[in-house]
């Protein structure tokens, strides 16, 4: 828990996107269907419309602030509620001040425009309550706990990311893949997002992975996908941990793109019982220091396997095989 030298506002501050409208260069105005943004997932996915000609989008947002913020005897004055949208990958940060609406100052409303050319992948949006406290203006006294995500790459408003899978023949494909022509898949973690390349030259693998066949086919498929996901999680973890930015005092920083997300997600399994910041320092120390990196490998493997859903897929396969054998025996 952080300590603040001034009084903060207790309670929950929440943010909600109430409508989204796509705007194009020829003044097209296209309100997004509610299926394109999800209040539960807290994700906006303009890609779900299938439209690609929009230039910017306007979001109407509303925030709910604890009533105590505007109570006459509160220690806060000049109350402001601002929504901040940012994306580390493009160094973009925009904000908008909301205006108090109904419900005795508990509900604040406003709008925010996002320009597509300013963003690459996922922008996050949060709400902050700001006030003058003890004569100091601009103090943040509360903020939303869970960000909204504006996902420019997804086709559905889901928080969890789907793996990007590309089918390509390795023999004739991109230069770096040619050396891997005998393997069924390869993971590329160098870009904006990790990508799994499935080798079309490996006969049958595309059909197996993409197909929906007999129950045995599907069991093998699920197992294969679990294995693939494990590979991906392992690869992304190593990529993320291997390319850290280090402060002058030796403290490693969380990367600002997906690499940071991966680390925050996996570190609790790799170094349990430590806050993620400390876990990051610990893993970095072990990797770059003289000892401790080898000991960590089983834990990295554990974290990746769990996320790849290997236990689930494997036990389903074993049970499935059992029942097939029983059927064959009978």
């Amino acid at each position: 828990m952080r300590a603040f030298p001034y009084q903060r506002l207790p309670g929950v501050v929440s943010l909600r996107v109430t409508s989204v409208e796509l705007r194009g260069p020829d003044d097209i105005r296209d309100p997004l269907d509610t299926s394109a943004f999800s209040a539960i997932e807290q994700v906006v996915a303009p890609g779900s419309t299938g439209r690609d000609d929009w230039e910017w989008l306007r979001m109407k947002v509303s925030a709910t602030v604890p009533g105590r913020a505007t109570a006459p005897d509160s220690p806060w004055t000049d109350l402001a509620v601002v929504v901040v949208l940012s994306e580390g990958a493009t160094n973009t940060r925009i904000s908008t001040a909301l205006t108090p609406g109904a419900e005795n100052g508990r509900k604040w409303e406003g709008q925010l425009d996002l320009w597509r050319a300013d963003h690459l992948d996922r922008a996050t949006m949060s709400v902050h309550v700001v006030a003058t406290v003890d004569g100091v203006a601009g103090r943040e006294i509360a903020a939303s706990a869970k960000d909204w995500i504006i996902d420019l790459k997804a086709e559905a408003p889901l928080r969890e990311r789907e793996l990007e899978v590309v089918e390509v023949g390795f023999r004739e494909g991109p230069q770096w893949l040619r050396r891997f022509q005998e393997v069924p898949w390869a993971v590329d973690t160098s870009g904006d997002l990790p990508v799994v390349h499935i080798n079309k030259d490996f006969e049958g693998v595309s059909d197996l992975v993409g197909g929906n066949g007999t129950s045995v086919d599907n069991m093998v498929r699920d197992l294969l996908i679990a294995q693939m996901c494990t590979d991906v999680w392992t690869a992304v973890f190593h990529t993320a941990i291997g390319d850290l930015e280090i402060e002058d005092d030796g403290t490693p920083l969380f990367p600002r793109d997906w690499r940071g997300e991966v680390l925050r997600e996996m570190l609790p399994d790799v170094v349990p019982d430590l806050p993620v910041e400390d876990a990051l320092s610990e893993v970095h120390r072990r990797r770059t220091g003289t000892s401790g990196w080898t000991d960590l490998q089983p834990r990295i493997h554990y974290a990746a396997t769990r996320r790849g859903d290997v236990p689930k897929a494997l036990s389903a396969t074993i049970r499935g095989l059992d029942s097939i054998h029983r059927g064959a025996d009978a």
Binding site: F4, P5, Y6, P25, E55, W56, A80, V82, V84, S86, G88, A89, T90, N91, T92, R93, I94, S95, T96, A97, D113, W115, R116, A117, D118, H119, L120, H128, V130, V136, A137, G138, R139, E140, P174, Q175, W176, D188, S190, G191, D192, D243, E245, D248, R256
Partner: protein, 300 residues
């Protein structure tokens, strides 16, 4: 020394990290070999805006040639302030396009490996062997030779005015740490920092680092977006500026180029933050004696 590529295609392109990696040989990094231009260009992908004038390679190469010529007898670090705004105004990229590391890989390996070696070669202390760090060719935006210049220009320009970029590039620590901190994404914060440099309040690398640390600490509890609001973001001027690239002449070599006609940062917001930062800096601990290391600080 690494030479200009012996083959330059007409258009700029994208070079994926995995393809770039194979050209980052010891020979190239120590400035003894060239990048194999023809082979390298076989592994590239076209830019999304391949058909537009801003995808032409020659204007970029000419600009880099001019930078190396103009600063041939000077410290190569001094070329940053000259090149950053001009590179920005020549490429005319959106942030979305600039966030794609592949274009920077291509500039460093396919267009001007000789520049990267010339600018970023550092002498090793132990055995005297000089080398360029890999991250100058391929790496995050705050270290890659061209990405750092482009982003410095993008984050520190005041609308169409590139003058603040020149100030920032004048202190290497500002360029190096400035690009790594989230706060400069807020334009009034970036401009207020520039103002302190223009006024001479902060001059050395150590002073810049002390200022950045103080602002960082202060930003943990203060919302600069509220005490120093920015103008509303409007993407149209940028789009028009990019479209105007079709008929734009080469960037001026003597005068500063003119950037997109975006609204300037509100003067009042810069005033408020400049006062605040000056107060923070007055109380910040500065390593060593102020003014002791006027040179480019921790340049690597």
């Amino acid at each position: 020394m690494t030479d200009k590529p012996n083959f330059l295609p007409e258009r700029l392109a994208l070079l994926a990290d995995l393809n770039a990696a194979q050209y980052l040989t010891e020979g190239l990094l120590s400035g003894k070999e060239d990048a194999p231009a023809i082979a390298l260009n076989k592994t590239t992908e076209p830019l999304p805006h391949d058909g537009e004038s801003r995808a032409e390679l020659a204007p970029v190469r000419d600009l880099i040639d001019d930078a190396m010529y103009q600063f041939r007898d000077d410290r190569p670090t001094n070329a940053d302030a000259w090149l950053a705004p001009r590179l920005h105004a020549t490429l005319r990229l959106t942030r979305r396009e600039a966030a794609d590391r592949r274009i920077w890989n291509y500039l460093a390996l396919g267009v001007a490996p000789d520049y990267v070696v010339w600018r970023h070669m550092v002498a090793k202390s132990e055995d005297g062997a000089s080398k360029v760090a890999v991250r100058r060719f391929q790496g995050p935006a705050y270290t890659q030779a061209f990405a750092r210049l482009w982003w410095a220009a993008e984050l520190f320009r005041d609308g169409p005015d590139y003058a603040p970029v020149v100030t920032v590039c004048g202190i290497q620590d500002m360029l190096n740490t400035g690009l790594r901190i989230d706060m400069v994404d807020h334009r009034p914060t970036a401009q207020a920092m520039v103002r302190l440099m223009d006024r001479g309040t902060v001059r050395t690398g150590r002073e810049v680092n002390a200022l950045v640390a103080a602002i960082n600490a202060s930003a943990a509890t203060l919302m600069y977006d509220v005490i120093a609001p920015d103008a509303e973001r409007d993407g149209r001027p940028l789009r028009e500026w990019i479209e105007a690239a079709e008929s734009a002449p080469a960037v001026p070599r003597r005068d500063l180029p003119i950037g997109p006609y975006e609204e300037k940062v509100p003067e009042r917001s810069v005033d408020v933050l400049a006062v605040h930062f000056a107060a923070l800096f007055a109380e910040a601990p500065v390593r060593g004696r102020p003014g002791a290391d006027e040179e480019a600080g921790g340049e690597v």
